[in-house]
């Protein structure tokens, strides 16, 4: 028989005695039973419990009797309680490392289901848009107007600030190079063409994606968590038409206007830098600007803006609708909405550039 003596206060959280000595003794002496002498035991907490449970496991392994009765009453009861319900062996999570092939297969399947769900979402959006055109879609105009206000007028400040800075940066960079050739007046062309064709719509798309796309994903994700989306389903109301359609409409309507605003502000930024720092006459600058912007370039920028609006609305709503049912999932949905949105905006802008150069626009 082996007697373990426990003494003093067991409140020290930093160091616990090693059980190797007991294990060694049990193995060596082949003791039939393990008893405790706790006469000098002071205060104790769960740390002691854990040690004693570890001793219990050692005893089971060494096939010695664990005499819990020799422990103080409170401890013995707690130990008995912790052993009362047997461990549910199939409930314990096993962390297995999947093989390489398994991981490749799993990520392939994930990518496949992700792709198909994106396509079916896209299909649903086409069907819903057709229903909208025929006036059969179920949604509320009041929701649409609210979203319009949130993603349009309320975004003017940040869209203006960023595009003003972009216009200034373009002018600075352009002017530094162009002055070397004595062509600083062409800074006006550079700023105008770059912002109207590309920068204004891309920057606005990215800002709206981070601002409104994230908001869509978080809103719809939270609705998913609260079973609000399921409530739509059980009432036979299409959650797609009711939630996604107003958001898509709002962005398609607002993005071209925001792009137009961004064009003006970016040109104003370039104007400020050029006239104040490069001694370009204001009238000449405006003249060059007007001369350099073609209607095609302008329409292309505005059209791309509307297209990016659809991307932001779809990715935001898609990730929101796909959201899991807990708080962390809402965060993931929001992150994923912004990442997917920005990726698609940049990628589709590249595709636009290729198409435009092929068509000589």
């Amino acid at each position: 028989m082996l007697i373990v003596e426990i003494a003093g206060d067991w409140l020290d959280r930093s160091s616990l005695p090693d059980l190797a000595a007991v294990q060694h003794e049990l193995a060596h002496t082949q003791a039939k039973a393990l008893e405790f002498d706790a006469s000098a035991l002071g205060h104790w907490d769960s740390a002691l419990m854990v040690r004693i449970l570890a001793l219990f496991d050692l005893c089971t392994k060494a096939k010695s009797e664990f005499r819990a009765a020799t422990l103080p009453e409170g401890l013995a009861k707690l130990i008995a309680l912790s052993q009362a319900v047997p461990e549910k062996s199939d409930a314990v999570r096993k962390s297995t490392t999947p093989s390489f092939l398994q991981r490749v297969g799993e990520s392939g399947l994930t990518a496949w289901t992700g792709g198909t769900s994106m396509l079916s979402f896209l299909g649903e959006s086409v069907v819903a848009s057709l229903k909208l055109v025929r006036g059969q879609a179920q949604f509320r105009w009041s929701d649409t107007l609210l979203v319009i206000q949130q993603c349009g007028p309320e975004a003017l400040g940040i869209v203006g600030l960023i595009n003003f800075l972009i216009g200034m940066i373009l002018a600075f960079v352009g002017a530094t190079e162009l002055t070397q050739f004595g062509a600083s007046i062409y800074t006006a062309d550079l700023v105008a063409i770059a912002s109207v064709r590309e920068m204004a719509c891309i920057m606005t798309g990215i800002i709206i994606c981070g601002r409104t796309g994230a908001a869509f994903a978080a809103q719809l994700g939270t609705m998913k968590v609260n079973q609000e989306i399921e409530a739509f389903q059980t009432f036979g109301i299409s959650s797609f038409e009711f939630l996604v359609l107003p958001r898509m409409m709002a962005l398609v309507l607002m993005m071209p206007l925001l792009c137009l605003f961004a064009d003006l502000i970016a040109i104003a930024g370039g104007f400020l830098v050029s006239t104040l720092m490069l001694d370009v006459s204001p009238l000449l600058y405006l003249d060059r600007t007007v001369a350099s912007i073609s209607l095609t370039a302008f329409l292309l920028g505005v059209f791309k803006g509307a297209f990016f609006g659809v991307i932001v609305a779809l990715t935001g709503c898609l990730r929101g609708m796909q959201c899991g049912t807990n708080a962390a999932a809402v965060g993931q949905a929001t992150t994923s909405a912004v990442v997917t949105g920005i990726t698609w905006i940049i990628a589709s802008d590249g595709i636009f550039a290729v198409i435009c150069s092929a068509l000589h626009i």
Binding site: D143, M223, E228, E230, A231, Q233, G236
Partner: protein, 261 residues
């Protein structure tokens, strides 16, 4: 197929699964018109999952649910939409649309399926709220009222279209004993006055015995149903120890009559 026209809902050979994981298999039960049907069982046994199958949120792995003799999942989309219109569902936390006031929540459903003018819709929404004791809260948002009130408002919304079948997911969860009892009373009053059929997921014994006419007991260990019938009868006559234990809060385990024969 049953020829008894009094059968409102029939669950036939239903197997529920998430992917390859079978939650419950071979569930069959019949619910007569005007009954309160209880889905009971311990936590995590698939009660809510069964409810989700019944209200069209999850497709069964096998079997089907028949409403008035028509299968739900084998029918096409239009028939299913039609069926949904005759359902009212009260979700566990109410699931009110949080961006709308209580009156708008009810009004939205009415607006989708009726051609009433706005004033009329508001009047009906007010009536439904009055039925659940929330008169005067028409213009409150769900976040501004208590959990128990949300649940009652959810019930008002479920009643909006005068449904034939009302589904409740754990109506008493999170309610104090008195509110919970009031909700039970309300369910009984609604059954008597509307003649609707009720399906209630719960594990509250008090509720089960107060409102239940019929029930099914799901057992997570055997992954199928262990018993069905009137819960009071089950308490008296069931010889299944698991059912007895559940219906007596485990006190029957020492009772000799409850041992399997």
């Amino acid at each position: 197929m049953s020829t008894d026209t009094n059968i409102k809902i029939e669950i036939r050979d239903l197997t529920m699964a998430y992917g390859s994981f079978v939650v419950m298999r071979d569930i069959s039960a019949q619910v007569r018109r005007g009954e309160v049907f209880i889905i009971m069982g311990g936590s995590g046994c698939g009660k809510s999952t069964l409810l989700r199958h019944m209200i069209g949120l999850k497709r069964p792995a096998k079997g089907d649910i028949y409403y008035d003799g028509t299968p739900y999942w084998q029918s096409d989309e239009a028939v299913r939409q039609g069926k949904l219109r005759s359902f009212g569902v009260l979700f566990q936390s109410g699931a009110l649309w949080s961006s709308m006031t209580l009156a708008e929540n009810i009004g939205l459903v009415l607006g989708e399926y009726t051609d009433f003018p706005p004033a009329e819709i508001r009047a009906i929404a007010g009536l439904k709220l009055a039925l659940v004791g929330l008169k005067g809260f028409e213009d409150y948002y769900p976040a501004e009222i208590s959990g128990g009130m949300c649940k009652r408002a959810g019930l008002a919304r479920a009643l909006a279209l005068d449904p034939d079948v009302l589904f409740f997911d754990e109506p008493s969860a999170g309610l104090d004993p008195i509110s919970s009892r009031n909700l039970d009373e309300l369910i009984l009053q609604l059954r008597d006055s509307l003649g609707a059929t009720f399906v209630v997921v719960t594990h509250e014994l008090a509720s089960i015995f107060t409102i239940g006419d019929n029930s099914v007991f799901l057992d997570p260990i055997t992954r199928t149903m262990r018993a069905k019938g009137n819960p009071r009868e089950l308490l008296k006559h069931s010889t299944d120890p698991a059912v007895q234990q559940f219906l007596t809060r485990g006190e029957a385990s020492a009772h000799p009559a409850a041992q399997p024969s």
